[in-house]
Symmetry: C2
Amino acid sequence: MKDMIDAERLGLDDVIAAHDRIAPYIHRTPVLTSSYLNGLTGAELFFKCENFQKAGAFKVRGASNAVFGLDEATAARGVATHSSGNHALSLAYAAGRRGIPCHVVMPRTAPEAKKAAVRGYGGTITECEPSTSSREAVFAELHARTGADFVHPYNDPRVIAGQATCSRELVEQVDALDAVIAPIGGGGMVSGCCLTLSNIAPQVQIYAAEPEQADDAYRSFKAGRIIADDAPVTVADGLKVPLKENTWHFVSRHVTDILTASEQEIVDAMKLTWERMKIVMEPSCAVPLATILKNPEVFRGKRVGVIITGGNVDLDRLPWMQA
Amino acid sequence: MKDMIDAERLGLDDVIAAHDRIAPYIHRTPVLTSSYLNGLTGAELFFKCENFQKAGAFKVRGASNAVFGLDEATAARGVATHSSGNHALSLAYAAGRRGIPCHVVMPRTAPEAKKAAVRGYGGTITECEPSTSSREAVFAELHARTGADFVHPYNDPRVIAGQATCSRELVEQVDALDAVIAPIGGGGMVSGCCLTLSNIAPQVQIYAAEPEQADDAYRSFKAGRIIADDAPVTVADGLKVPLKENTWHFVSRHVTDILTASEQEIVDAMKLTWERMKIVMEPSCAVPLATILKNPEVFRGKRVGVIITGGNVDLDRLPWMQA
């Protein structure tokens, strides 16, 4: 983690530099609306569709910013990370575009579709048990062995600056937003929203949405300090990881509130979005809509940006089809 | 079917008039691309996403053109149709927007999601057996009883002129297309492509794609006359109906070729599109990609518009999950 800058030193200049650096490797994703979902919620919802992003998720923004910011000598040793899925395949994608090695530690329970995609981009996978502790132990060995540059999935200012480009596009695409809501796991996307919006649109409220069964960010937010759980169980498999110091910096300062939803509410919101908006998205992406449906009084009459974070789903294991 | 004009009399003026008439009630749908699918096929594919259309399918174009073209006295008696699904709910949507009654005959085997959507828009359903003969007999009784204006799902020039607005948008959205390919059932969408492209972009080749197990249009095309099957069986449930005289007029004159795909090829192409493009679409929409993958020599190096016709899928019955 040498050369890491602190979250405190991140500014709008870093976001603009990241956006210029990664533009050749990412999509400027579309914003979709649904009159049905607007009617159902009483809000005006603007869905920023990062499920259509390169490598299928917003994570490619931060990963590309890290990979293409490396000097030649460091890049030649490759990059390494641990990830529950999308950061792994985003880093593999970015490393593949630059032509450097990529080593990833993934839980053995990660969706097969994500593992296949990592390999498809040329990444090398080392499996671990599905817990934060196992993941970190396996990674430490890998990191020491390869000497690759560690790109943490979210606790890395280069990654946060990359994720921040998403909300920068959103405020360019949609006028007069009142609020933005994004799912929160480790807090990379939410931190990116905080970094961008606190600088260029400070009037926009920032909400985070989290599964009740993995509500460590919610409890951290209420307690005023980081609380981490080991191996929570939720259908929203991208949201199991805890906050770290660089994301806590932003979440604790700029987030208006963190809202939670039950597993059934998440699956219902996911299926509803597939049915009405005709988009393939991950369970994690349904948590914001689930919390909007659960807390209509918070959002009614407001113009709300909703970050659809990714679309890498195992189509053979859809959550509403499992007994 | 009084006041029906013949297909021979349809011209570009009718397409432009239809577009002006229906613009307040439809989306100008986006065109998506996939570098993965371009690499796989060797072609440049431009997917016109009518799955994001109002009521979930291109059929709302033709249905809206018919409904909003009615004089007040005729409109007051309502509209009626028979349809395997999307035309039914599109007509119900359009009638609902105009505030007039809508009666539809649907096969009892039609997807529950489509039946629920028809009722949600205020339409009334009468069920029939899943065969062309049963459908027509049940409809005749309903039509005589209600006196509603019959809007045929495709053999109606008002409907063809409405569907023709889709390819008009596509050629505005994508430069220098070499070809357009669309699924063919009754031929409404393909006829609309023929009507528009023969007038404004006659250099664009028009291909139709059909399931091998419901290949009546293919056999008609080769034989030079309409051949109709009763109750073919295919996963592409929107493509079971036969050509009629108004669509045969266009298909026989302007289509370059009709290509077919097997059930497995259709399901594979459907799942591939969901996985890589992150869009929810019907099995029918996968037939064009299945035929492109099967006949790469026809499309390699070409810029090809692919009509994604609709997204109204029963998410509890996905074809790759059925044993």
